[in-house]
């Protein structure tokens, strides 16, 4: 070993001995970084998995990469027009797409024509799993689905399942890269199952342009739908992922605060050692290098731990995320998790970068430290004041920057930027605010011990500020998200109550049951009102939406919630001149009351006016409602969507449902009562926000760890402050109790300050981010009970975090305190 190496080894050993003597401090530094990495990489894994799922869904003709021609009206395109377009030289490929009931589920069936299908329309993996083309393109055809989907349908590969209407499906082929709940067949098989009309023509992006424009052949029967790009699943769900990422960053930041606190403290405590090393001839560069090596080692260790944690977090959250995405956006994401090599690399890199951020300042100071500098520790109070002023100034700057972004920008990103600025400003202003509050409190303090306690609390702020910042962030996030979710829940429950106007909902899977069922229901004495429902899909401009036919019956007139309504809205609906639009659709298309809309009915354009706007929470797609009679007259092919039955008041639903079931042999999916729908909807709601709640809890947990770690690492230093007070005659037990009280007070003050910050956050979420992301705005409700609960939780966390150091203090031998008192003087 060279002399230099031996010197470095010795110096590294000396530096590392610090951690050996303070395992808790070492644990805090590692834990902070590991937690930061875990939450960050966990969120990344979730996002990655969802993105992969979207790519798969898009890979099967979701159309976000390929321009398509679609029939203007609901009517489908005939095959002869397709052939005419091809013979004119247009490189288009036909698709028949629709939903098919199998095993009681609605699945998406996509029929493609493989001979003309653009290469880029099918995922590469799918091309590799595909069956022989002769088997695919001819009877009995083949039906591709993921193994998971087939499993759920109970169809073994190679065997033929049945649709809910009894028709045989093509023999199943497992193709694992297909999105869940998607069936892929040849267009011939799809024509047999869904009807012969084409639902779209894909335009091959690689083919040379046609010399003849498609309009010359198809006239105005088709409309060009450009590749969706931003407005596809990626765009729709972007907000959700941005949300997750923001949480990931928040957790990361909190974790870094812990590490920063631990590393900074360790540096302070090792100043003497570093000075000694420098005096022994180790250069500043070498010291910095050694600290860097130590840091890299620690970061790698923490990163590895964090990745394992991230994997666990992702595994835990994935089912919830998948439920959220399919519930809220209709995005098919399977609950599985597979991690790409890039994820591990990225996680480790984040850990190293995090360590560099957390410790960079410390390293720079070690490098700049003059060899003969005093090894005396900083004057906490003086430095604290300076730092506070600087932090407060930065905080105000962040606030100004946030306001500027908000003023000039708009949309989701500006909303999140404002949120970030607000959080940052709050964090930076926290120490100054706490100091100010304690200064006020000092005036109220009576007696020397109380005065000392308040003054000492102020002096403790710099040491605890990082942990308190972490706590503030976590609490504010909790209050903000909690308020948003609870506001949503309150609104949602109320809306559901009013929206579900019928007592029983009957939607038979077999269309031929519609008429007899209607006659039977109408004849029952228990029936007060029979509400038929129809739906069809139309296109308004670039927007594809669901058009509902609802009767202008008393049930709707009286109870159905409209956010805004023109006078006589339901009358105008009934007479066929009015249209109700969902809030999402009205925002997306800029439709307001009185606006004229021309609906593309198969029999010809139908001009109507917007007479009402209704909330349609949880629906990723736009929706509009016309009168049932008008829909039946203008869309003869509109799908029957079931009956709502309003019973004579006082009638028990049970026997009526039993009678319907007995008469028509309906399954549980076809017949459900009001309470059942409500139960189901609320379950979807709860599942949707389960992930948010869980991440929230994680963040709070990390903040608790931060507080605990800070108090623990500080407890040694605190002894120097406590020794004189003890020497002045305050017993150890009393001292310990005082310490506990002070910690509690700081934590509670922070919790109280977190309430306005959290409410600001909630407002941003409800009024800005939700509107951008989902297209609906909620009234903001306040839940003081939740705040009290959080304050209580904070107290418990603070007590738990302070208990161990205080216990040690209470049990500390008097001789030790005396010694510290003597040495510090």
């Amino acid at each position: 070993m060279s002399r230099a190496a031996a010197r470095w080894a010795a110096a590294l050993g000396a530096l590392a001995s610090h951690w050996r003597r303070r395992p808790l401090q070492a644990a805090a530094a590692l834990l902070g970084l590991a937690l930061a990495t875990a939450l960050w990489s966990g969120v990344q894994a979730l996002n990655g998995e969802a993105k992969r799922a979207y790519a798969e869904a898009a890979a099967v003709l979701e159309g976000d990469r390929i321009d398509r021609l679609e029939p203007v009206a609901e009517g489908r395109l005939d095959v002869a027009t397709y052939a005419a377009l091809r013979r004119a030289g247009l490189a288009v490929s036909p698709v028949i797409e629709g939903s098919l009931g199998v095993g009681g589920r609605r699945l998406r069936l996509v029929g493609v024509e493989p001979l003309t299908l653009p290469r880029s329309a099918l995922g590469e993996a799918l091309q590799a799993d595909g069956p022989d083309i002769a088997a695919f393109t001819g009877p009995p055809w083949a039906m591709l689905a993921s193994a998971e989907t087939l499993d759920r349908l109970g169809i073994a590969p190679g065997s033929r399942g049945r649709a809910d209407d009894g028709r045989a499906l093509p023999p199943a082929v497992a193709a694992d890269r297909l999105a869940p709940d998607l069936l892929l067949t040849d267009i011939g098989a799809a024509a047999a199952l869904l009807g012969p009309g084409l639902t779209a023509l894909l335009i091959d992006p690689e083919a040379p342009a046609s010399p003849v424009p498609w309009q010359e052949i198809a006239g105005d029967r088709l409309v060009l739908v450009p590749a969706a790009g931003e407005s596809g699943l990626d765009g729709l769900t972007g907000s959700f992922h941005l949300n997750l990422t923001a949480f990931g960053f928040l957790a990361f930041a909190v974790g870094l605060l812990i590490t920063h606190a631990a590393v900074g403290l360790a540096f302070e405590q090792r100043l003497g050692l570093i000075r000694t090393l420098r005096a022994c001839g180790v250069s500043a560069r070498e010291v910095a290098g050694l600290l860097l090596a130590e840091l890299a080692l620690g970061a790698a260790l923490a990163g590895a731990l964090g990745l394992v944690g991230g994997w666990l977090v992702a595994g835990l959250l994935m089912p919830g995320v998948s439920a959220t995405l399919s519930g809220l956006f209709g995005a098919p994401v399977s609950g599985g998790l597979s991690l790409a090599p890039g994820w591990w690399v990225q996680g480790l890199a984040m850990s190293l970068a995090g360590a560099a951020i957390a410790a960079g300042h410390t390293l720079a100071r070690a490098y700049a430290l003059p060899p003969l500098a005093s090894a005396r520790r900083q004057d906490w109070a003086a430095s604290g004041r300076r730092t506070r002023r600087l932090e407060a100034a930065l905080g105000l700057a962040a606030l100004a920057a946030g306001a500027a972004v908000w003023g000039f920008g708009s949309g989701l990103v500006a909303g999140f930027a404002l949120m970030a600025a607000m959080m940052l400003a709050a964090v930076l202003l926290l120490p100054a605010l706490l100091a100010w509050l304690l200064a006020r409190a000092a005036r109220l303090a009576r007696g020397p011990v109380a005065e000392w306690a308040v003054a000492d609390s102020r002096q403790q702020i710099p040491g605890l500020s990082l942990a308190l910042m972490a706590l503030l962030l976590a609490l504010a996030a909790n209050i903000g998200v909690g308020t948003m979710v609870e506001s949503f829940r309150t609104t949602f429950v109320d809306w559901l109550e009013r929206r579900l106007v019928a007592d029983i909902y009957v939607s038979p899977a077999r269309a031929e049951q519609e008429a007899p069922l209607g006659a039977w229901l109408a004849a029952r004495p228990e029936t007060a009102e029979l509400l038929g429902l129809r739906r069809t899909e139309i296109r308004l401009g670039a927007e594809r939406l669901e058009l509902m036919g609802r009767p202008a019956a008393p049930a709707y007139r009286e109870g159905w919630p409209l956010l805004e309504a023109a006078p006589g809205a339901w009358d105008r609906l009934a007479e066929g001149t009015g249209l109700l639009v969902s809030e999402q659709l009205s925002r997306r298309m800029g439709l307001g009351l009185g606006d004229a809309v021309v609906l593309p009915a198969p029999g010809g354009a139908w001009p109507v006016a917007v007479v009402g706007i209704y909330a349609d929470y949880g629906n990723p797609r736009g929706e509009a409602t016309v009168g049932l009679a008008a829909m039946e007259a203008r869309w003869p092919g509109a799908r029957f969507d079931g009956y709502g039955v309003r019973l004579v008041p006082g009638t028990d639903t049970g026997p009526v449902m039993a009678a319907i079931e007995a008469a028509f042999g309906l399954g549980p999916d076809e017949l459900v009562d009001n309470a059942g729908v409500r139960r189901f909807s609320l379950r979807v709601f709860e599942r949707t926000f389960a992930v948010t709640a869980m991440l929230n809890l994680f963040t709070l947990g990390v903040a608790g760890v931060a507080l605990f770690a800070s108090l623990l690492t500080l407890s040694d230093l605190r002894l120097a402050s406590l020794a004189p007070v003890w020497a002045a005659g305050v017993p150890r037990r009393r001292l310990a109790a005082l310490e506990l009280g002070k910690t509690l007070a700081l934590a509670l003050l922070t919790a109280v300050l977190a309430i306005p910050l959290g409410l600001g956050l909630a407002w941003l979420l409800v009024a800005v981010i939700n509107v951008e992301a989902f297209g609906w705005r909620l009234p903001l409700h306040l839940f003081p009970g939740q705040w009290l609960w959080l304050i209580g939780l904070t107290a418990v966390t603070a007590l738990a975090a302070a208990a161990l150091p205080m216990l040690r203090l209470a049990r500390l031998p008097a001789a030790r305190l005396a010694k510290i008192f003597a040495e510090e003087r």
């Binding site: 397709y82 052939a83 091809r86 493989p114 001979l115 083309i133 393109t137 040379p208």
Partner: protein, 359 residues
């Protein structure tokens, strides 16, 4: 034209991995055509009826090649091919998507400097591709080979031939200046010593004029074209791997069709037909014609093939060598093969087309 069999097999790669599928398809073509119509020596070919499709047979094609010159005298060539392929026997004509018929078009243009090729695929049964006889029309998408005159029952010549692809397009008129010619023995063309055969007829007497566009430059062209009509259900012996096929216009007005089917088990099978200027066709039995490779060249990135050949027919006093207009006339399509114009030099001068597959 035996040479195109493999191309039809290439159909099977649209969805899955190409190589594996092509292998499977080769096996199927060699293993026989149970349920399909059979090629029998006593079947008499009749035109214009037999210009139409024969859906009972497994495979069939309409194959046109043309040797052309532009206004400056620079030589070029074009190819237009429509293949029909049945994935299984039976299937009603009006079966729609359920039809077993699949169509494939290949089109190419070759100059001394450039070679461009394109492919189209279509399902039968829906009108996107097909062949009609009254008047004659063969098409896939906007590629057409169709009667361009006053019409009338069974009208065939004159014909419009047009196609386009990435970097090329052409639109020419073909006028027949001689009769249809039956290949093999009265249209019964034996493909191996163990009896595989096809129905095979040609129209080698087309005069051509029109335009060809390559790389953005449109040129007026004139020249001559050769059309092959062939259909079969089981044309390949199990050990046959590929072929080299010539259709030549000789300077004295004679036409020569020669092919060699490479056979690993029984030795190569070389045969052809000698066609007099009046259309009289005489089969060249195995042994009557000799075919020998002369020189190889790179025809595509990393692929070398024989591009110069010697053909000898001692009984006819013919000893010629062929040389390609462009050795890189490689059709890199779903099934790849070499297809391009050649010049003939030696005892007879001339020009024509060469196709090489399965090498």
């Amino acid at each position: 034209m035996a040479g195109v069999l493999a191309l039809v097999l290439g159909l099977l790669l649209a969805l899955p991995a190409a190589a594996q599928e092509a292998e499977r398809a080769f096996d199927r073509m060699r293993s026989g055509g149970a349920g399909f119509a059979e090629v029998l020596p006593e079947t008499a070919l009749r035109f214009p009826e037999d210009h139409g499709a024969h859906p009972g047979f497994r495979i069939e094609w309409w194959y046109v090649t043309a040797n052309l010159r532009d206004a400056e005298g620079a030589p070029l060539g074009l190819q237009w091919t429509l293949f029909r392929f049945a994935t299984r026997p039976g299937g009603a004509a009006d079966a729609g998507w359920a039809t077993p018929q699949i169509w494939m078009g290949h089109a190419a243009v070759t100059t001394a400097e450039a070679h461009r090729a394109a492919e189209r695929l279509a399902r039968g049964g829906i009108g996107q591709a097909g062949v009609a006889t009254d008047p004659f029309a063969a098409w896939i998408d906007d590629w057409v080979f169709a009667h361009a005159g006053a019409g009338g029952a069974g009208a065939f010549s004159p014909l419009r031939l047009a196609a386009r692809g990435e970097g090329f397009a052409y639109d020419v008129t073909l006028a027949a200046e001689g009769p249809m010619v039956l290949q093999g023995e009265a249209g019964y063309s034996v493909k191996s010593a163990v009896g595989q055969a096809s129905h095979y007829a040609s129209q080698p007497f087309f005069a051509v004029e029109g335009w060809v566009e390559v790389a953005g430059t449109r040129r007026q062209v004139t020249g001559r074209a050769w059309m092959d009509r062939e259909w079969s259900s089981r044309p390949l012996a199990g050990s046959q791997s590929g072929w080299d096929w010539f259709s030549l216009h000789l300077s004295g007005g004679e036409k020569l069709m020669v092919y060699r089917l490479r056979d690993s088990a029984r030795g190569d099978y070389v045969t052809g037909n000698w066609i007099a200027p009046d259309g009289t066709s005489t089969r060249l039995a195995p042994g009557a014609v000799r075919l020998a490779p002369l020189a190889r060249a790179e025809v595509a990135e990393g692929r070398e093939m024989t591009v110069r050949w010697r053909i000898e027919i001692p009984a006819r006093g013919l000893a010629v060598e062929t040389r390609p207009l462009n050795p890189r006339a490689w059709n890199g399509l779903s099934t790849a093969y070499w297809e391009g114009p050649v010049f003939v030099e030696g005892s007879h001068a001339g020009e024509g087309y060469l196709e090489m597959t399965g090498e």
